[in-house]
Subunit: 204 residues, 2 copies
């Protein structure tokens, strides 16, 4: 399982804790024969190993009354013990395609129906590769806010979800996250996207 | 600790596994009185709780011979069991400022000395808020590649690190990650930054 690894892996990976949703793993290794033995702990979702990422983040641009907004969500996250600003997102169900999962999660979490899928990333993007093997894909969609199905968006939330929809004008995303980032946890991918937009506008 | 939480937290959070670096936590909750009891498992770094984020990601633009490059790194990640393309980054040491940590990690991991700090985010940006409380800040820096200290950059790596420096022309970041994302795991913040740049260029 550690093909291409530059470290010397010692023995077998060991699952040291087995929870309902998560497992904790310990891998013992050396950088080279003369280096001290080290241990790398990591966390893994309980799932059948497969080629798909765990989840999908939906970057949705809402066109409405001649303006453009990103559809973001704010929700309380028990692991962080606080409110987080995030892209609509969710885990991909068994047998579900990445695009279908993204469209479903956008609809459930925000009530909006995507009008057009602009792009979907390939491979798996690691969320926190030093800590976990969790991964996702990004899907970019356009939402026609003037279409009948998007006039009165209604969420359809699960038992563990309380979600507020936040619309942010596209060209103000960075100033918005800069303003609220000390009040709520802004998810790192949202902040990185905003910094990327700003970088392109200033320097390219 | 769960101030502002919309869920009904049941009992005290319980640490169910205590490793060398990581701890696993279980929180029992209900969405409301009539909802079923649920459990939220999460992972937490062993650290003194403090107001700083765990780490810092350095978004470094190298100016060299009239061209601009992002300084990225590629490294094998044991949790992912594969190679990852990432921003230079690292944990913030006790007593260290975020900026000092960012400059130190850039130098250690890539050999480059930043010439100018352009910005540093505030608050804490969650990396995977449904899974962990891990957080970081982003620091943007400029590196003068024609300066004497950056002519022959030399890494200074730790015992658990094997890192390759990757320079990608700034305006080609998205096409680069699109090309390699099925061969290596592209860290989600790198991909999100590239998508943000592309979004601004196409739509704003």
């Amino acid at each position: 399982m550690f093909a291409g690894c530059p470290f010397k892996i010692l023995g077998q990976p060991k699952f040291v804790y087995d929870g309902k949703w998560l497992k904790m793993r310990e891998v013992r290794f050396r950088k080279c024969d003369s280096s001290p033995e080290q241990v790398w702990e990591s966390v893994h979702r309980r799932r059948d190993s497969n080629s798909k990422p765990d989840g999908v983040d939906v970057l949705a641009a809402l066109h409405k009354d001649g303006k453009k907004y990103f559809i973001l969500i704010k929700q309380y996250r028990i692991p962080m013990a606080g409110m987080c600003l995030e892209f609509p997102a969710g885990l991909i169900d068994d047998g579900e395609t990445i695009e279908a999962a993204g469209l479903r999660e956008l609809k459930e979490e925000t009530g909006y129906t995507a009008t057009k899928v602009l792009s979907c990333t390939k491979g798996k993007q690691g969320l926190s590769p030093g800590l976990a093997d969790e991964s996702l894909n990004f899907m970019m969609v356009e939402v026609d806010g003037d279409a009948p199905e998007n006039k009165n968006p209604k969420q359809n939330l699960g038992d563990g979800e309380v979600i507020e929809v936040v619309l942010v004008e596209c060209d103000r995303l960075l100033s918005y996250v800069e303003l609220i980032c000390t009040e709520v946890y802004v998810e790192s991918v949202v902040y990185a996207f905003a910094l990327g937009m700003n970088y392109a506008q200033r320097f390219l």
